[in-house]
Symmetry: C4
Subunit: 197 residues, 4 copies
């Protein structure tokens, strides 16, 4: 089964998700520059969601570079990831105007948590059909960053009930941690050109 079309389809979906979030950025009805002020929270939440989706695209890109084969279960695990990511725009649209309220902060965190779990399942399904000494297995390793992110989202989601702003701070912190591209996979991928022995 070819991984090329899987990459193309995932790229397509993520590119569209990134851009349709813009449709929720409505311009002000007035025409003064100060009228933009009301858009600021929406814009900042859009930045956060854009970065989150860009991180997933980046990690997906790195992951696929060391994948040797895929099968039906990998295809569906990937669809599960795309489904979770597809809820980002609606979670963003709700959070934008209500970023101080528990409900939208909680819902946003649940979407991020679901995406993190779906990504974890995708790596699990890929590991199932790769050798323990494969480039992929070496690159993923213990996946501490992925596991800690899931713990972080669980904590943030619980915290959102009482302290929504603290939960948002955790979302931002996790995004910052991931902004650094996955050196593990980048290193392994760079080795590809080098002779195996």
């Amino acid at each position: 089964m070819s991984r090329g079309r899987l990459e193309a389809f995932s790229d397509g979906v993520i590119a569209i998700l990134v851009t349709i979030m813009v449709l929720n950025l409505r311009p002000p009805s007035g025409d003064r520059f100060e009228d933009l002020r009301a858009m600021v929270p929406n814009l900042l939440i859009y930045v956060l969601s854009f970065v989150m989706l860009a991180i997933y695209w980046n990690n997906h890109h790195h992951l696929m570079q060391v994948v040797e084969r895929i099968d039906g279960r990998v295809l569906w695990a990937n669809m599960g990831l795309l489904f979770c990511l597809s809820l980002t725009p609606v979670a963003t649209a709700w959070l934008g105007p209500h970023w101080r309220a528990s409900g939208p902060v909680l819902a946003y965190g649940l979407v991020l948590l679901a995406a993190a779990i779906a990504y974890f399942i995708l790596t699990t399904q890929l590991l199932r059909i790769h050798a323990p000494d494969s480039r992929l297995a070496v690159a993923i390793g213990q996946d501490w960053k992925g596991k800690l992110s899931m713990v972080g989202y669980v904590v943030a989601v619980l915290l959102a009930i009482v302290l929504p702003l603290a939960a948002i701070a955790i979302y931002i912190a996790i995004a910052v941690v991931w902004l650094v591209p996955d050196r593990r996979i980048e290193r392994v991928a760079a080795d590809r050109a080098a002779p195996p022995g």
Copy 2:
């Protein structure tokens, strides 16, 4: 004629259809977590439509792997399939808030039936230009699953007039049957690497 651009165009259209359905998931106007409850039917119908489109993408992906050539009629049969699939978002948008009413359930089923027929026509057009012992012909075989789905949709559509919920149950059942990737084609595609003799 190259099948690469046909795949790329189909992937693009399906990726966009999957994602623009999200635009119909409007966030609640309130800011409490309980306000999400009103979104639940919409969300479940979205899951169903997402899975349906993902199944078509998956099957299209598998089908194209064993295609050896395409022609003008195949291009148009493929366009017909994309047209039918493109009605999914509007059918989903109608069904979301009216999932207990006959009309929207019936219309949703007609779109699914039309897509199933269009896919059947696409396979027919492909078989026309492939040898009876081609990988494609072997992979499609009698296509019981495709034919039974069409019968299932006809039954569901008729049932929708009196028992809309039973019709939805049939739609879900057909989706579940298809969730299993097409072993026939996957087996034949896997044979590709093996020597023909």
Copy 3:
């Protein structure tokens, strides 16, 4: 300059145009099957626009198969075509509910005419950098179908002022003529595999 990315970008834009027209197909507010009746004109106009865009994709696909090189002017001629095609959704959205009025029928025809002219300019720019005996020049030939379509659109646009329905009939007739894939190019493209002598 590679033609691959030009194809990919054009496919992307056309795939998105085809699908965002669906966003203008609003589901009825009622929940009875009969409520769909009000959607019928919109749906039929959508079919027409879908077919028109599919024809352009098809012809673009065939044209690009015999292209040997592109340059900056070809890139911009292609952008001009994509711009004209990008007006299809708004022309469709206006025509849908007003298909008996002169204004929207006229505007729709002007968009079709502009796209036909842009496609003609694209072929002219391609011919400029291909030899008179190139596969491309042979395939395009006198381009009677393209020239007659432009004449047809001019007639239809003038007719729209007094007889909107007759203009729509001409739009449909031109679409039907183009539905047949371009045999000229298909023949030349098929020859590609055959030895040149």
Copy 4:
């Protein structure tokens, strides 16, 4: 790291941005041809934004042709560019009906300025990992056009406060300058086929 998927993702995002701007072109509510007159400013601003995005796609296309390698920082610089470009539709939607007011003209200019800076950063990041005598370094050269555009946008943005129409004239002038494809890179890319010695 492969540049192919970076190109594909960027193409996808730009293609979607170009087309979703069309969603802000609402058809008139009336059905007379004269009703289109109210759309004219919106349409002209759409043309400007379409041309701007097409220029970025064109330059990105040319730039990538001479890129030999990318890394994580290039990926993020590219994401930054896509983010700035993604604000074009909302800036366009605000400017359309308010093209005589300082605020929207200023905001539109800030988006253009941000995109120009992001493109400059992308070239800087690429130069960092290419040799000074690489095809890329030769092609970019002193980048006078890029630097002058940034100065032009700064002037225009300041001017927008007192003379919005003059600022729009500068935006158009910069677009016209860029409409000419980047001869420098086109020349270097054309040399690629020629032997290096």
